[in-house]
Amino acid sequence: MTIREIKLAIIGAGPAGICAAIEAAKSDVSVTVIDENLKPGGQIYRRLSDAFAVTDENRLGKDYVQGTKLIRELEHYSPKIELIEDAPIWGIFADREVAFLNKGKNEELKPQKLIIAEGAYDRPMPFPGWTLPGVLTAGAALRMVKTEKVLPGEKVLLTGTGPLQLVLATQLIQAGAEVVSVLEAASPTGAWKYLPQFWGQWELIKDGLHYLWELRRGKIPYLTSHAIIQARGEQEVNEAVYARVDRDGNPIPGTEKTVEVDTVCTGYGLIPSTRLSRLCGCEHKYEPCLGAWVPCHDESMETTVPGVFVAGDSTGIAGALVAMEEGRLAAIKACQQLGYITQEEAQHRSLPIFRKLRGLNRFESALNRVFSIRRGLFTRITNDTIICRCEEVTAGEIRQIIADGAIGIQEIKRLTRAGMGHCQGRMCESTIAQMISIQTKQLVEETGWSTPRPPVKPIPLGILAAEQD
Protein backbone atom coordinates (compact mmCIF):
# COMPACT_ATOMS: atom_id res chain seq x y z
CA MET A 1 0.00 0.00 0.00
CA THR A 2 1.21 3.49 -0.77
CA ILE A 3 1.26 6.27 1.76
CA ARG A 4 -0.10 9.44 0.28
CA GLU A 5 1.96 12.50 1.17
CA ILE A 6 0.00 15.72 1.52
CA LYS A 7 0.36 19.22 2.93
CA LEU A 8 -2.36 19.33 5.56
CA ALA A 9 -4.75 16.80 7.11
CA ILE A 10 -7.55 17.59 9.49
CA ILE A 11 -9.12 14.94 11.70
CA GLY A 12 -12.76 15.58 12.47
CA ALA A 13 -15.41 17.45 10.49
CA GLY A 14 -17.15 19.16 13.39
CA PRO A 15 -17.16 22.95 13.81
CA ALA A 16 -13.41 23.08 14.56
CA GLY A 17 -12.37 20.83 11.68
CA ILE A 18 -14.67 22.51 9.17
CA CYS A 19 -13.46 26.00 10.05
CA ALA A 20 -9.85 24.87 9.93
CA ALA A 21 -10.43 23.44 6.45
CA ILE A 22 -12.12 26.62 5.21
CA GLU A 23 -9.33 28.78 6.58
CA ALA A 24 -6.71 26.60 4.91
CA ALA A 25 -8.58 26.68 1.62
CA LYS A 26 -8.71 30.48 1.85
CA SER A 27 -4.92 30.41 2.13
CA ASP A 28 -4.77 28.28 -1.02
CA VAL A 29 -3.67 25.14 0.83
CA SER A 30 -5.20 21.85 -0.31
CA VAL A 31 -6.48 19.92 2.65
CA THR A 32 -7.86 16.47 3.42
CA VAL A 33 -10.49 16.13 6.15
CA ILE A 34 -11.12 12.69 7.65
CA ASP A 35 -14.26 12.07 9.68
CA GLU A 36 -15.77 8.98 11.24
CA ASN A 37 -19.37 10.01 10.64
CA LEU A 38 -21.44 9.62 7.52
CA LYS A 39 -21.67 13.38 7.03
CA PRO A 40 -19.79 16.49 8.15
CA GLY A 41 -21.09 18.57 11.06
CA GLY A 42 -19.80 16.72 14.09
CA GLN A 43 -22.23 16.18 16.93
CA ILE A 44 -23.57 19.70 17.31
CA TYR A 45 -24.17 20.30 13.61
CA ARG A 46 -25.11 16.72 12.79
CA ARG A 47 -27.08 16.63 9.53
CA LEU A 48 -30.36 14.99 8.76
CA SER A 49 -30.18 12.26 6.17
CA ASP A 50 -30.53 13.41 2.55
CA ALA A 51 -33.52 11.10 2.35
CA PHE A 52 -35.35 13.39 4.80
CA ALA A 53 -36.88 16.43 3.17
CA VAL A 54 -36.69 19.49 5.39
CA THR A 55 -40.11 21.13 5.39
CA ASP A 56 -39.31 23.82 7.93
CA GLU A 57 -35.67 24.41 8.79
CA ASN A 58 -36.53 26.80 11.64
CA ARG A 59 -38.21 23.97 13.51
CA LEU A 60 -34.89 22.13 13.48
CA GLY A 61 -33.38 24.73 15.80
CA LYS A 62 -30.80 27.48 15.68
CA ASP A 63 -27.82 25.11 15.72
CA TYR A 64 -29.13 23.29 12.68
CA VAL A 65 -29.47 26.49 10.69
CA GLN A 66 -25.96 27.55 11.71
CA GLY A 67 -24.65 24.13 10.72
CA THR A 68 -26.26 24.40 7.30
CA LYS A 69 -24.51 27.72 6.72
CA LEU A 70 -21.16 26.34 7.79
CA ILE A 71 -21.42 23.24 5.64
CA ARG A 72 -22.43 25.34 2.63
CA GLU A 73 -19.25 27.32 3.12
CA LEU A 74 -17.28 24.09 3.30
CA GLU A 75 -18.85 22.96 0.03
CA HIS A 76 -18.03 26.32 -1.53
CA TYR A 77 -14.34 25.57 -1.01
CA SER A 78 -14.66 21.95 -2.14
CA PRO A 79 -12.11 22.25 -4.96
CA LYS A 80 -9.49 22.70 -2.26
CA ILE A 81 -11.00 20.40 0.36
CA GLU A 82 -11.08 16.62 0.10
CA LEU A 83 -13.59 15.19 2.58
CA ILE A 84 -13.29 11.52 3.52
CA GLU A 85 -16.39 10.42 5.46
CA ASP A 86 -17.31 7.25 7.33
CA ALA A 87 -13.60 6.71 7.98
CA PRO A 88 -12.60 5.64 11.49
CA ILE A 89 -8.97 6.40 12.30
CA TRP A 90 -7.30 3.45 13.97
CA GLY A 91 -3.76 4.67 14.35
CA ILE A 92 -1.32 7.55 14.10
CA PHE A 93 2.31 6.61 13.74
CA ALA A 94 5.65 8.41 13.69
CA ASP A 95 5.85 11.60 11.62
CA ARG A 96 2.09 12.15 11.61
CA GLU A 97 1.25 9.07 9.57
CA VAL A 98 -2.50 8.65 9.86
CA ALA A 99 -4.06 5.20 9.27
CA PHE A 100 -7.80 4.87 8.71
CA LEU A 101 -10.46 2.73 7.12
CA ASN A 102 -12.00 4.02 3.92
CA LYS A 103 -14.83 1.97 2.43
CA GLY A 104 -13.58 -1.14 4.17
CA LYS A 105 -9.97 -0.66 3.02
CA ASN A 106 -6.96 0.52 4.94
CA GLU A 107 -5.53 3.85 3.85
CA GLU A 108 -2.63 5.97 5.05
CA LEU A 109 -1.86 9.66 4.78
CA LYS A 110 1.29 11.49 5.68
CA PRO A 111 0.58 15.19 6.05
CA GLN A 112 3.25 17.81 6.70
CA LYS A 113 0.88 19.42 9.19
CA LEU A 114 -1.91 17.74 11.15
CA ILE A 115 -4.87 19.34 12.92
CA ILE A 116 -6.70 17.06 15.34
CA ALA A 117 -10.26 18.05 16.18
CA GLU A 118 -11.58 14.78 17.58
CA GLY A 119 -14.37 16.31 19.65
CA ALA A 120 -15.84 15.08 22.88
CA TYR A 121 -18.37 12.62 24.24
CA ASP A 122 -20.77 12.37 27.16
CA ARG A 123 -19.05 11.71 30.45
CA PRO A 124 -19.89 8.17 31.52
CA MET A 125 -21.10 8.31 35.14
CA PRO A 126 -21.83 4.92 36.64
CA PHE A 127 -24.61 4.19 39.13
CA PRO A 128 -26.42 0.92 39.83
CA GLY A 129 -28.41 -0.02 36.74
CA TRP A 130 -26.67 2.36 34.33
CA THR A 131 -26.01 -0.44 31.85
CA LEU A 132 -29.71 -1.27 31.40
CA PRO A 133 -31.15 -0.66 27.94
CA GLY A 134 -33.16 2.56 28.11
CA VAL A 135 -30.46 4.33 30.10
CA LEU A 136 -28.63 6.41 27.55
CA THR A 137 -26.54 9.55 27.40
CA ALA A 138 -28.02 12.98 26.80
CA GLY A 139 -25.98 13.12 23.61
CA ALA A 140 -27.52 9.91 22.31
CA ALA A 141 -31.02 11.12 23.14
CA LEU A 142 -30.39 14.50 21.50
CA ARG A 143 -29.14 12.87 18.36
CA MET A 144 -32.21 10.64 18.18
CA VAL A 145 -34.65 13.50 18.71
CA LYS A 146 -32.87 16.11 16.61
CA THR A 147 -31.58 14.33 13.56
CA GLU A 148 -33.22 10.91 13.52
CA LYS A 149 -36.56 12.35 14.63
CA VAL A 150 -37.17 9.39 16.91
CA LEU A 151 -38.02 9.45 20.61
CA PRO A 152 -35.73 7.23 22.69
CA GLY A 153 -38.72 6.52 24.97
CA GLU A 154 -41.97 7.96 26.23
CA LYS A 155 -41.52 8.63 29.92
CA VAL A 156 -38.12 10.13 30.49
CA LEU A 157 -36.07 11.11 33.53
CA LEU A 158 -33.12 13.43 32.95
CA THR A 159 -30.22 13.36 35.37
CA GLY A 160 -26.87 15.08 35.23
CA THR A 161 -25.51 18.59 35.30
CA GLY A 162 -25.19 21.56 32.99
CA PRO A 163 -27.14 23.42 30.35
CA LEU A 164 -27.27 20.58 27.82
CA GLN A 165 -29.90 18.94 30.02
CA LEU A 166 -32.18 21.90 29.50
CA VAL A 167 -31.71 21.74 25.75
CA LEU A 168 -32.55 18.04 25.75
CA ALA A 169 -35.60 18.46 28.00
CA THR A 170 -36.99 21.14 25.70
CA GLN A 171 -36.42 19.02 22.62
CA LEU A 172 -38.01 15.95 24.19
CA ILE A 173 -41.11 17.87 25.26
CA GLN A 174 -41.50 19.46 21.85
CA ALA A 175 -41.20 16.02 20.27
CA GLY A 176 -44.01 14.72 22.46
CA ALA A 177 -42.24 12.80 25.22
CA GLU A 178 -43.22 13.06 28.85
CA VAL A 179 -40.31 14.44 30.84
CA VAL A 180 -40.82 13.29 34.43
CA SER A 181 -38.16 15.54 36.01
CA VAL A 182 -34.83 17.14 35.27
CA LEU A 183 -32.37 16.37 38.05
CA GLU A 184 -29.49 18.87 38.30
CA ALA A 185 -26.66 17.78 40.58
CA ALA A 186 -25.37 21.34 41.12
CA SER A 187 -26.90 23.57 43.75
CA PRO A 188 -28.88 26.62 42.63
CA THR A 189 -26.60 29.06 44.43
CA GLY A 190 -23.48 27.81 42.67
CA ALA A 191 -24.14 29.83 39.54
CA TRP A 192 -24.31 33.24 41.27
CA LYS A 193 -20.73 33.08 42.49
CA TYR A 194 -19.50 33.21 38.92
CA LEU A 195 -21.95 35.79 37.68
CA PRO A 196 -19.30 38.42 36.81
CA GLN A 197 -17.72 36.01 34.36
CA PHE A 198 -21.00 35.58 32.52
CA TRP A 199 -21.19 39.35 32.06
CA GLY A 200 -21.44 40.39 28.43
CA GLN A 201 -22.43 37.01 27.02
CA TRP A 202 -26.07 38.06 26.55
CA GLU A 203 -26.82 35.73 23.65
CA LEU A 204 -25.73 32.68 25.61
CA ILE A 205 -27.50 33.78 28.79
CA LYS A 206 -30.67 34.43 26.82
CA ASP A 207 -30.52 30.87 25.45
CA GLY A 208 -30.24 29.44 28.96
CA LEU A 209 -33.16 31.47 30.28
CA HIS A 210 -35.26 30.50 27.29
CA TYR A 211 -34.76 26.82 28.02
CA LEU A 212 -35.62 27.29 31.71
CA TRP A 213 -38.76 29.16 30.67
CA GLU A 214 -39.76 26.29 28.38
CA LEU A 215 -39.50 23.87 31.31
CA ARG A 216 -41.63 26.16 33.49
CA ARG A 217 -44.24 26.37 30.79
CA GLY A 218 -44.36 22.60 30.47
CA LYS A 219 -44.59 22.34 34.28
CA ILE A 220 -41.55 20.05 34.31
CA PRO A 221 -39.88 19.91 37.74
CA TYR A 222 -36.29 21.13 37.52
CA LEU A 223 -34.74 19.81 40.73
CA THR A 224 -31.38 21.26 41.64
CA SER A 225 -29.13 19.34 44.09
CA HIS A 226 -30.66 16.05 42.92
CA ALA A 227 -29.29 12.98 41.19
CA ILE A 228 -30.35 9.49 40.21
CA ILE A 229 -29.05 6.78 42.52
CA GLN A 230 -30.38 3.67 40.82
CA ALA A 231 -32.06 2.49 37.63
CA ARG A 232 -34.08 -0.70 37.89
CA GLY A 233 -35.47 -3.22 35.46
CA GLU A 234 -34.93 -6.69 34.00
CA GLN A 235 -34.50 -6.37 30.24
CA GLU A 236 -34.76 -2.58 30.25
CA VAL A 237 -35.23 0.24 32.70
CA ASN A 238 -38.72 0.66 34.15
CA GLU A 239 -38.05 2.45 37.41
CA ALA A 240 -35.58 4.99 38.76
CA VAL A 241 -34.65 6.06 42.27
CA TYR A 242 -33.33 9.55 42.84
CA ALA A 243 -32.30 11.53 45.88
CA ARG A 244 -31.26 14.95 47.05
CA VAL A 245 -27.49 15.43 47.05
CA ASP A 246 -25.36 17.67 49.24
CA ARG A 247 -22.94 20.28 47.89
CA ASP A 248 -20.30 17.62 47.26
CA GLY A 249 -22.75 15.41 45.40
CA ASN A 250 -23.29 12.84 48.18
CA PRO A 251 -26.84 11.45 48.14
CA ILE A 252 -28.66 12.36 51.36
CA PRO A 253 -30.17 9.25 53.01
CA GLY A 254 -33.91 9.43 53.56
CA THR A 255 -34.58 11.72 50.58
CA GLU A 256 -35.01 8.90 48.01
CA LYS A 257 -37.97 8.93 45.63
CA THR A 258 -38.94 6.23 43.16
CA VAL A 259 -40.45 7.06 39.79
CA GLU A 260 -41.79 4.92 36.98
CA VAL A 261 -39.96 5.69 33.73
CA ASP A 262 -39.03 3.89 30.53
CA THR A 263 -35.98 6.01 29.76
CA VAL A 264 -33.20 7.69 31.73
CA CYS A 265 -30.94 10.26 30.03
CA THR A 266 -27.66 11.01 31.76
CA GLY A 267 -25.94 14.27 30.92
CA TYR A 268 -22.93 14.83 33.15
CA GLY A 269 -21.17 17.11 30.74
CA LEU A 270 -18.68 16.12 28.09
CA ILE A 271 -15.15 14.87 28.21
CA PRO A 272 -12.61 15.65 25.51
CA SER A 273 -11.62 12.83 23.16
CA THR A 274 -7.86 12.61 23.39
CA ARG A 275 -7.02 9.16 22.08
CA LEU A 276 -5.48 10.55 18.89
CA SER A 277 -3.54 13.41 20.47
CA ARG A 278 -2.20 10.86 22.99
CA LEU A 279 -1.18 8.55 20.14
CA CYS A 280 0.75 11.44 18.59
CA GLY A 281 2.77 11.75 21.78
CA CYS A 282 1.50 15.23 22.61
CA GLU A 283 1.94 16.34 26.18
CA HIS A 284 -1.35 16.50 28.12
CA LYS A 285 -2.40 18.07 31.37
CA TYR A 286 -5.18 17.18 33.76
CA GLU A 287 -7.96 19.76 34.10
CA PRO A 288 -9.62 19.22 37.50
CA CYS A 289 -12.61 21.36 36.52
CA LEU A 290 -13.30 19.20 33.49
CA GLY A 291 -12.24 16.02 35.23
CA ALA A 292 -10.29 15.10 32.13
CA TRP A 293 -6.94 15.23 30.36
CA VAL A 294 -6.45 17.77 27.60
CA PRO A 295 -3.57 18.27 25.17
CA CYS A 296 -1.23 21.18 25.98
CA HIS A 297 -1.02 23.77 23.23
CA ASP A 298 0.28 27.28 22.58
CA GLU A 299 -1.91 30.22 21.60
CA SER A 300 -1.84 29.10 17.95
CA MET A 301 -3.14 25.66 19.04
CA GLU A 302 0.14 23.88 18.24
CA THR A 303 0.85 20.98 20.60
CA THR A 304 4.20 19.97 22.07
CA VAL A 305 4.73 17.86 18.94
CA PRO A 306 5.79 20.28 16.18
CA GLY A 307 3.39 20.34 13.27
CA VAL A 308 0.55 18.75 15.25
CA PHE A 309 -2.30 21.10 16.18
CA VAL A 310 -5.47 20.59 18.20
CA ALA A 311 -8.77 22.48 18.13
CA GLY A 312 -12.29 22.34 19.48
CA ASP A 313 -13.82 20.39 22.34
CA SER A 314 -11.00 17.83 22.36
CA THR A 315 -8.83 20.59 23.88
CA GLY A 316 -11.35 21.35 26.65
CA ILE A 317 -15.11 21.68 26.60
CA ALA A 318 -16.01 25.12 25.31
CA GLY A 319 -18.67 24.60 22.66
CA ALA A 320 -19.00 25.23 18.94
CA LEU A 321 -18.30 28.98 18.95
CA VAL A 322 -14.89 28.50 20.56
CA ALA A 323 -14.19 25.39 18.49
CA MET A 324 -14.64 27.30 15.24
CA GLU A 325 -12.23 30.04 16.27
CA GLU A 326 -9.66 27.53 17.47
CA GLY A 327 -9.92 25.65 14.18
CA ARG A 328 -9.23 28.88 12.30
CA LEU A 329 -6.23 29.73 14.48
CA ALA A 330 -4.70 26.29 14.02
CA ALA A 331 -5.12 26.46 10.26
CA ILE A 332 -3.67 29.95 9.98
CA LYS A 333 -0.56 28.87 11.88
CA ALA A 334 -0.23 25.64 9.90
CA CYS A 335 -0.51 27.56 6.61
CA GLN A 336 2.12 29.99 7.80
CA GLN A 337 4.45 27.12 8.66
CA LEU A 338 3.81 25.64 5.22
CA GLY A 339 4.90 28.94 3.71
CA TYR A 340 1.55 29.84 2.13
CA ILE A 341 1.05 33.00 4.14
CA THR A 342 3.48 35.45 5.72
CA GLN A 343 3.92 35.93 9.43
CA GLU A 344 2.36 39.40 9.11
CA GLU A 345 -0.71 38.03 7.41
CA ALA A 346 -1.03 35.24 9.96
CA GLN A 347 -0.88 37.78 12.76
CA HIS A 348 -3.33 40.08 11.05
CA ARG A 349 -5.83 37.23 10.67
CA SER A 350 -5.29 35.81 14.17
CA LEU A 351 -5.63 39.00 16.21
CA PRO A 352 -9.41 39.44 15.97
CA ILE A 353 -9.81 35.73 16.77
CA PHE A 354 -7.76 36.04 19.96
CA ARG A 355 -9.97 38.92 21.03
CA LYS A 356 -13.17 36.97 20.40
CA LEU A 357 -11.87 33.89 22.20
CA ARG A 358 -11.08 35.77 25.40
CA GLY A 359 -14.72 36.60 26.09
CA LEU A 360 -16.04 33.20 25.08
CA ASN A 361 -13.49 31.26 27.12
CA ARG A 362 -14.31 33.22 30.24
CA PHE A 363 -17.95 32.23 29.92
CA GLU A 364 -17.19 28.57 29.33
CA SER A 365 -14.75 28.27 32.20
CA ALA A 366 -17.38 29.73 34.54
CA LEU A 367 -19.92 27.22 33.25
CA ASN A 368 -17.47 24.35 33.70
CA ARG A 369 -16.90 25.45 37.29
CA VAL A 370 -20.57 25.65 38.21
CA PHE A 371 -21.29 22.29 36.65
CA SER A 372 -18.10 20.44 37.51
CA ILE A 373 -18.48 16.86 38.67
CA ARG A 374 -18.86 16.60 42.43
CA ARG A 375 -16.88 13.85 44.09
CA GLY A 376 -19.84 12.59 46.11
CA LEU A 377 -21.55 11.36 42.95
CA PHE A 378 -19.08 8.49 42.90
CA THR A 379 -20.44 7.23 46.22
CA ARG A 380 -23.51 6.11 44.26
CA ILE A 381 -21.39 3.33 42.82
CA THR A 382 -22.16 0.07 44.63
CA ASN A 383 -19.69 -2.82 44.50
CA ASP A 384 -21.76 -4.72 41.95
CA THR A 385 -22.00 -1.72 39.60
CA ILE A 386 -20.28 -2.32 36.27
CA ILE A 387 -17.48 0.18 35.63
CA CYS A 388 -15.88 -1.21 32.46
CA ARG A 389 -18.85 -1.90 30.22
CA CYS A 390 -16.87 -3.84 27.63
CA GLU A 391 -15.11 -6.30 29.92
CA GLU A 392 -17.83 -6.23 32.60
CA VAL A 393 -15.50 -5.30 35.43
CA THR A 394 -17.35 -4.30 38.60
CA ALA A 395 -16.53 -1.54 41.05
CA GLY A 396 -16.02 -4.19 43.73
CA GLU A 397 -13.24 -5.88 41.74
CA ILE A 398 -11.53 -2.56 41.13
CA ARG A 399 -11.84 -1.45 44.74
CA GLN A 400 -10.37 -4.75 45.91
CA ILE A 401 -7.34 -4.30 43.67
CA ILE A 402 -6.85 -0.75 44.90
CA ALA A 403 -7.13 -2.02 48.49
CA ASP A 404 -4.45 -4.58 47.59
CA GLY A 405 -2.12 -1.76 46.63
CA ALA A 406 -2.78 -0.71 43.02
CA ILE A 407 -2.25 3.02 42.59
CA GLY A 408 -2.51 3.57 38.85
CA ILE A 409 -4.83 3.14 35.85
CA GLN A 410 -2.33 0.97 33.99
CA GLU A 411 -2.09 -1.52 36.85
CA ILE A 412 -5.84 -1.82 37.08
CA LYS A 413 -6.05 -2.31 33.36
CA ARG A 414 -3.50 -5.09 33.48
CA LEU A 415 -5.04 -6.84 36.46
CA THR A 416 -8.74 -6.60 35.58
CA ARG A 417 -8.86 -5.98 31.80
CA ALA A 418 -10.81 -2.78 32.51
CA GLY A 419 -10.19 -0.51 29.52
CA MET A 420 -9.09 -3.27 27.16
CA GLY A 421 -12.39 -3.83 25.38
CA HIS A 422 -13.97 -2.42 22.26
CA CYS A 423 -14.19 1.17 23.51
CA GLN A 424 -10.51 1.18 24.53
CA GLY A 425 -11.14 2.69 27.94
CA ARG A 426 -13.20 5.62 26.75
CA MET A 427 -16.11 4.58 29.01
CA CYS A 428 -14.21 3.67 32.19
CA GLU A 429 -10.92 5.53 32.41
CA SER A 430 -12.26 8.73 33.97
CA THR A 431 -14.27 6.80 36.57
CA ILE A 432 -11.42 4.50 37.54
CA ALA A 433 -9.14 7.51 37.97
CA GLN A 434 -11.64 9.05 40.39
CA MET A 435 -12.07 5.74 42.24
CA ILE A 436 -8.32 5.36 42.76
CA SER A 437 -8.03 8.97 43.82
CA ILE A 438 -10.86 8.65 46.35
CA GLN A 439 -9.54 5.41 47.82
CA THR A 440 -5.81 6.24 47.90
CA LYS A 441 -6.12 10.01 48.49
CA GLN A 442 -3.87 10.68 45.48
CA LEU A 443 -4.62 13.49 43.09
CA VAL A 444 -6.50 12.21 40.04
CA GLU A 445 -3.62 13.20 37.75
CA GLU A 446 -1.28 11.01 39.78
CA THR A 447 -3.24 7.90 38.83
CA GLY A 448 -1.95 8.26 35.26
CA TRP A 449 -3.77 7.29 32.11
CA SER A 450 -3.94 4.36 29.81
CA THR A 451 -1.58 4.71 26.91
CA PRO A 452 -3.52 4.09 23.75
CA ARG A 453 -2.03 1.69 21.25
CA PRO A 454 -3.22 1.14 17.72
CA PRO A 455 -5.77 0.04 16.80
CA VAL A 456 -7.66 2.64 18.85
CA LYS A 457 -10.80 1.60 16.99
CA PRO A 458 -11.43 -2.08 16.36
CA ILE A 459 -10.63 -3.07 12.79
CA PRO A 460 -11.36 -6.38 11.11
CA LEU A 461 -8.14 -8.42 11.20
CA GLY A 462 -8.52 -9.37 7.54
CA ILE A 463 -7.91 -5.79 6.50
CA LEU A 464 -4.43 -5.67 7.97
CA ALA A 465 -3.66 -9.20 6.85
CA ALA A 466 -4.50 -8.17 3.28
CA GLU A 467 -1.82 -5.49 3.62
CA GLN A 468 0.88 -8.08 4.07
CA ASP A 469 0.16 -9.78 0.74
Binding site: P133, L151, Q235, R389, E392
Partner: protein, 97 residues
Amino acid sequence: MATVNRRTRAGVARGKCFEIEVDGERILAYEGETIAAALLAAGKRVARNTKKKEPRGIYCGIGVCFECRMIVDGKSNTRVCQTLATPNCKVHTQFDL
Protein backbone atom coordinates in the same frame (compact mmCIF):
# COMPACT_ATOMS: atom_id res chain seq x y z
CA MET B 1 -45.46 -6.04 12.89
CA ALA B 2 -44.59 -3.98 15.97
CA THR B 3 -47.20 -1.33 16.73
CA VAL B 4 -44.98 1.09 18.63
CA ASN B 5 -43.93 4.02 16.48
CA ARG B 6 -41.88 6.69 18.22
CA ARG B 7 -41.12 8.77 15.16
CA THR B 8 -41.82 12.48 15.15
CA ARG B 9 -42.29 14.70 12.14
CA ALA B 10 -41.28 18.18 13.27
CA GLY B 11 -39.88 20.05 10.30
CA VAL B 12 -39.18 17.03 8.07
CA ALA B 13 -40.78 14.63 5.63
CA ARG B 14 -39.31 11.13 5.53
CA GLY B 15 -38.23 9.36 2.40
CA LYS B 16 -38.83 5.80 1.23
CA CYS B 17 -40.25 3.39 3.78
CA PHE B 18 -39.23 -0.25 3.86
CA GLU B 19 -39.06 -3.23 6.18
CA ILE B 20 -36.09 -4.70 7.99
CA GLU B 21 -35.95 -7.97 9.89
CA VAL B 22 -35.01 -7.99 13.57
CA ASP B 23 -34.64 -11.44 15.09
CA GLY B 24 -37.11 -12.70 12.51
CA GLU B 25 -39.65 -9.94 13.12
CA ARG B 26 -40.43 -7.37 10.40
CA ILE B 27 -40.22 -3.73 11.49
CA LEU B 28 -40.43 -0.48 9.56
CA ALA B 29 -37.49 1.67 8.66
CA TYR B 30 -37.02 4.73 6.48
CA GLU B 31 -34.28 5.57 4.06
CA GLY B 32 -31.54 7.50 5.85
CA GLU B 33 -32.38 6.10 9.29
CA THR B 34 -29.78 4.26 11.32
CA ILE B 35 -30.70 0.79 12.49
CA ALA B 36 -30.52 2.17 16.03
CA ALA B 37 -33.21 4.73 15.24
CA ALA B 38 -35.45 2.13 13.60
CA LEU B 39 -35.11 -0.11 16.65
CA LEU B 40 -35.86 2.69 19.13
CA ALA B 41 -38.79 3.84 17.00
CA ALA B 42 -40.24 0.34 17.32
CA GLY B 43 -39.62 0.33 21.07
CA LYS B 44 -36.84 -2.24 20.80
CA ARG B 45 -34.04 -1.47 23.24
CA VAL B 46 -31.85 -4.55 23.60
CA ALA B 47 -28.95 -4.76 21.14
CA ARG B 48 -26.88 -7.53 22.67
CA ASN B 49 -26.38 -9.76 25.67
CA THR B 50 -23.02 -9.70 27.39
CA LYS B 51 -20.89 -12.66 28.44
CA LYS B 52 -22.54 -12.37 31.83
CA LYS B 53 -25.92 -12.50 30.05
CA GLU B 54 -26.84 -8.90 30.77
CA PRO B 55 -28.84 -6.91 28.22
CA ARG B 56 -27.26 -3.81 26.68
CA GLY B 57 -28.64 -1.19 24.37
CA ILE B 58 -27.85 2.14 22.80
CA TYR B 59 -25.79 4.19 25.25
CA CYS B 60 -23.53 6.90 23.79
CA GLY B 61 -25.29 7.11 20.44
CA ILE B 62 -22.23 8.44 18.61
CA GLY B 63 -20.10 5.37 18.00
CA VAL B 64 -17.80 5.66 21.00
CA CYS B 65 -19.06 3.09 23.52
CA PHE B 66 -19.61 0.07 21.24
CA GLU B 67 -22.55 -1.06 23.40
CA CYS B 68 -25.02 -1.28 20.51
CA ARG B 69 -23.14 -4.02 18.69
CA MET B 70 -25.46 -6.36 16.78
CA ILE B 71 -25.22 -8.86 13.96
CA VAL B 72 -26.19 -7.09 10.74
CA ASP B 73 -26.44 -9.21 7.59
CA GLY B 74 -24.19 -11.77 9.21
CA LYS B 75 -21.59 -9.23 10.34
CA SER B 76 -21.16 -9.33 14.10
CA ASN B 77 -19.99 -6.39 16.24
CA THR B 78 -21.71 -3.87 13.98
CA ARG B 79 -22.51 -0.64 15.79
CA VAL B 80 -26.14 -0.04 14.85
CA CYS B 81 -25.92 3.66 15.79
CA GLN B 82 -23.39 4.12 12.96
CA THR B 83 -25.09 1.86 10.42
CA LEU B 84 -27.90 2.84 8.07
CA ALA B 85 -30.89 0.57 7.67
CA THR B 86 -31.26 -0.91 4.19
CA PRO B 87 -34.32 -2.66 2.71
CA ASN B 88 -34.68 -6.18 4.11
CA CYS B 89 -31.45 -6.09 6.07
CA LYS B 90 -31.33 -8.80 8.70
CA VAL B 91 -30.50 -7.71 12.23
CA HIS B 92 -29.91 -10.10 15.10
CA THR B 93 -29.38 -9.60 18.80
CA GLN B 94 -25.77 -10.45 19.54
CA PHE B 95 -24.98 -12.95 22.27
CA ASP B 96 -21.39 -12.47 23.38
CA LEU B 97 -19.47 -15.61 24.28
